[in-house]
């Protein structure tokens, strides 16, 4: 009897299960799988060989401009890791991108930047598509369209790393902020676009939204936080064609208050508060020989003007500050030439320079080095649109150690970038 029962139970289960399968088609009536957004995953990895050890590179700085440009670095609880940071193997990131229409009026985009150290929401924004008269509004966290390169993701870049001036002035993420953007496209035969952005201004390299207070007496706010949003960006871009050559030029400006807090640094803690302006000019000229082969010349010039006060601790006391009136006028550019031989092979060279480095403390120019150059060459091979292998060599003369001695940094980078899924085509 028991045995019969034991057999009966699975039997009835099977009979009912089959019944279930026959009626299962009802479930499809409510299936929403057709509404799954475009999803893509981009993975970037590299093998790096440098002439200096990781710990040596991590302490190098661009004097008067930025420190810890290569390698992971940390100040306070924030730790950043740039791409190609370590000698040997690097998993630079796995980036998950989603895109879809929300309704007839909006698109929604998000990019999640996964690294070994965690996840960042790199972008999450809506974009209008139904506003008349050539306007478009975007809101959320996004890459600003300041300049040409700032709006592009790393995997679109023609080199494995960011141009020196961008990285030194704005940090490894560029202007990547929460805010709102309005763009207007003129109804002209030339492409002529105007844009304005109001951004939170959390960028730690140049702007920032925190208050400044000595670590030993955090209640004694020395400089309060700025009005937020704190960063305003404006730009115009103009483009036209001459035969099979496209020209695209742009002018940009970014303006905001600075609250740069390096008070928790182990070496020479300091803070800066003031107002800062970044000016940019960019020019891209691309000539097509046929559907697959082209020559592209891309250049950007950046100038920044920081005007304010620097705060340092007097010797061992961390409850009060010494102040110095500080002004920084710094300019740099990069210029790169890229030749695509066919769909597979491309070769390119890049010149980076920071050529003006006026750091004026209490009316005295501190005579900072102003011949900070980097030279880069690369060759890449794509097996398809979705996989690219790149070999890049950098000779960097822009970095100095803590004793103020210039250090040549030579890097050989082998980068592999692959994409799967539905990834939207890129802008010009």
């Amino acid at each position: 009897m028991k045995k019969t029962l034991l057999i009966l139970v699975p039997l009835t289960a099977i009979i009912y299960a089959q019944d279930e399968i026959q009626t299962n088609s009802f479930a499809d009536a409510f299936s929403q799988s057709a509404f799954i957004p475009d999803i893509s995953l981009i993975v970037d990895m590299s093998y790096v060989n440098r002439n200096l050890k990781d710990e040596e590179v991590a302490h190098l700085e661009v004097p008067g401009v930025a420190h810890g440009l290569i390698g992971g670095h940390s100040h306070g609880e924030h730790s950043h890791s740039t791409v190609n940071a370590s000698n040997g193997f690097n998993l630079n990131y796995a980036e998950l991108a989603l895109h879809s229409s929300v309704d007839p009026y909006f698109d929604l985009d998000a990019v999640f930047h996964f690294s070994e150290h965690g996840v960042e929401i790199e972008e999450a924004y809506f974009t209008t598509n139904a506003i008349p008269y050539g306007f478009r509004i975007r809101g959320g966290k996004f890459l600003s369209e300041f300049g040409y390169l700032n709006n592009q993701h790393h995997h679109v870049w023609d080199f494995a790393d960011m141009p020196l001036a961008y990285q030194a002035f704005l940090g490894g993420h560029g202007i990547n902020e929460i805010g709102a953007q309005v763009q207007w496209l003129a109804p002209t035969s030339l492409y002529w676009m105007f844009g304005a952005e109001a951004l939170q201004g959390e960028n730690e390299q140049m702007f920032g939204t925190g208050a400044i207070a000595p670590a030993g007496d955090p209640e004694a706010i020395t400089v309060s936080s700025p009005d937020q949003p704190n960063l305003f960006v404006g730009y115009t871009k103009l483009s036209g064609d001459i035969g099979d050559t496209t020209l695209l030029g742009g002018l940009s400006i970014a303006y905001g208050d600075s609250r740069i807090d390096h008070l928790e640094d182990a070496e020479a803690p300091h803070a800066f508060a003031g107002t800062s302006t970044l000016y940019g000019a960019d020019l891209v000229i691309k000539h097509y020989f046929d559907s697959y082969s082209y020559l592209k010349w891309q250049s950007e010039w950046l100038y920044r003007d920081l005007d304010g006060m620097q705060y340092n601790y007097p010797s061992d006391d961390t409850t009060s500050f010494n102040t110095v009136a500080l002004r920084k006028k710094q300019s740099g550019y990069y210029s790169q030439l890229l030749y695509a031989y066919d769909q597979n092979w491309r070769i390119g060279g890049r010149l980076d320079s920071i050529y003006q480095n006026d750091v004026i403390a209490n009316s005295t120019n501190k005579e900072m080095p102003d011949d900070l150059n980097r030279y880069t060459a690369m060759i890449d091979y794509s097996t398809s649109e979705f996989a690219r292998f790149r070999l890049q060599y950098n000779h960097n003369t822009a970095l100095y150690n803590e004793e103020g001695e210039q250090q040549d940094v030579n890097s050989l980078i082998f980068q592999v970038n692959m994409a799967i899924g539905a990834h939207g085509a890129h802008n010009f």
Partner: protein, 294 residues
């Protein structure tokens, strides 16, 4: 500031308000739209006819063309997936958005060949909706013209009868042309050919020619030596009449195959403007059919 606005006003074409401004992706769509729309439309073609239709550069000047258009007609079936979406996203023009009244995807009027049953990029750069190069079947041109006529009528109902008459005239003319081409192509029935990419399959289908292989091993993947050696064997055993080759890929591999096997290499324009001499749809099919007339 005053001069700025004056320049702006000068730059804006005053004609804009008189006729329908139609942007189209490829030259053949432009030709159909001009025939049907005639004096009631301005047509601007985005892609050049002599370049690979899959790889059109999304130049900013194309964005400003879309910005000023009342409508957009595309081939569809993912042929423009690599270049039209970023243009639309920047054109800030709600009249041409997919799904709106001013957007026409021609592939919806066509029964497509080679619809894949499963899709993976391991199989190359496949078109998930089927082969999108359907305009090279002359029968399809009529279906497309019919579709364009009704599209223009919904955009500009006051000219419905003009569009309808233009379509009827075109239909008569095209049917005569098709008879001529069918005669030319009668001798080509059941021939075998090799293509670079499967972009002439609709033409082959229309005239009962068999495309037995492609020079690219998989869609969008450049020729490999292993695949080329296989092709030499295919040519020797199956005796195709020729390699029909598009104008935009390198003929290096085709020339190599010619040297190894003696197979004829025939250059085939895929669109108006692919060769300088081809300025109309009739000239395109005259040329294509003429290549088989021996």
């Amino acid at each position: 500031m005053k001069t700025f606005f004056l320049t702006l006003i000068l730059l804006v074409s005053t004609e804009v308000f008189a006729k329908l401004n139609i942007a189209v992706s490829y030259p053949y769509i432009g030709a159909i739209t001009k025939v049907i729309g005639a004096e009631n439309v301005n047509v601007s073609v985005l892609a050049k006819g002599n370049w690979d239709p899959h790889f059109v550069v999304a130049r900013p000047s194309l964005i400003s063309k879309l910005r000023r258009s009342d409508a957009l007609i595309i081939n569809g079936a993912h042929l423009e997936i690599g270049w039209i979406p970023p243009l639309i996203r920047r054109a800030n023009n709600r009249n041409i958005l997919p799904g709106s009244k001013g957007f026409l995807d021609l592939s919806s009027s066509i029964n497509m060949l080679q619809k894949p049953t499963s899709v993976s990029r391991a199989g190359g750069d496949v078109h998930p909706d089927g082969n999108p190069h359907f305009h090279l079947d002359p029968n399809n041109i009529l279906l497309l013209a019919r579709r364009v006529a009704s599209f223009l009528s919904t955009l500009d109902p006051s000219n419905r009868s003009n569009f309808e008459n233009n379509f009827q005239d075109f239909k008569l003319h095209w049917k005569k042309e098709m008879k001529k081409w069918a005669k030319t192509m009668a001798s080509a029935n059941n021939k075998k050919v090799i293509e670079y990419h499967r972009n002439f399959d609709y033409f082959l289908h229309a005239y009962h020619i068999e495309g037995i292989a492609t020079i690219e091993p998989l869609p969008g993947i450049p020729p490999s030596s292993r695949h080329t050696i296989e092709l030499i064997n295919t040519i020797k055993t199956q005796h195709p009449c020729c390699i029909i080759h598009d104008v935009y890929h390198s003929t290096k591999t085709a020339t190599y195959l010619h040297n190894k096997t003696g197979i004829k290499v025939v250059i085939m324009p895929h669109d108006i403007g692919a060769l300088e001499s081809i300025e109309s749809l009739s000239e395109l099919f005259d040329y294509l059919t003429g290549q088989f007339n021996d």
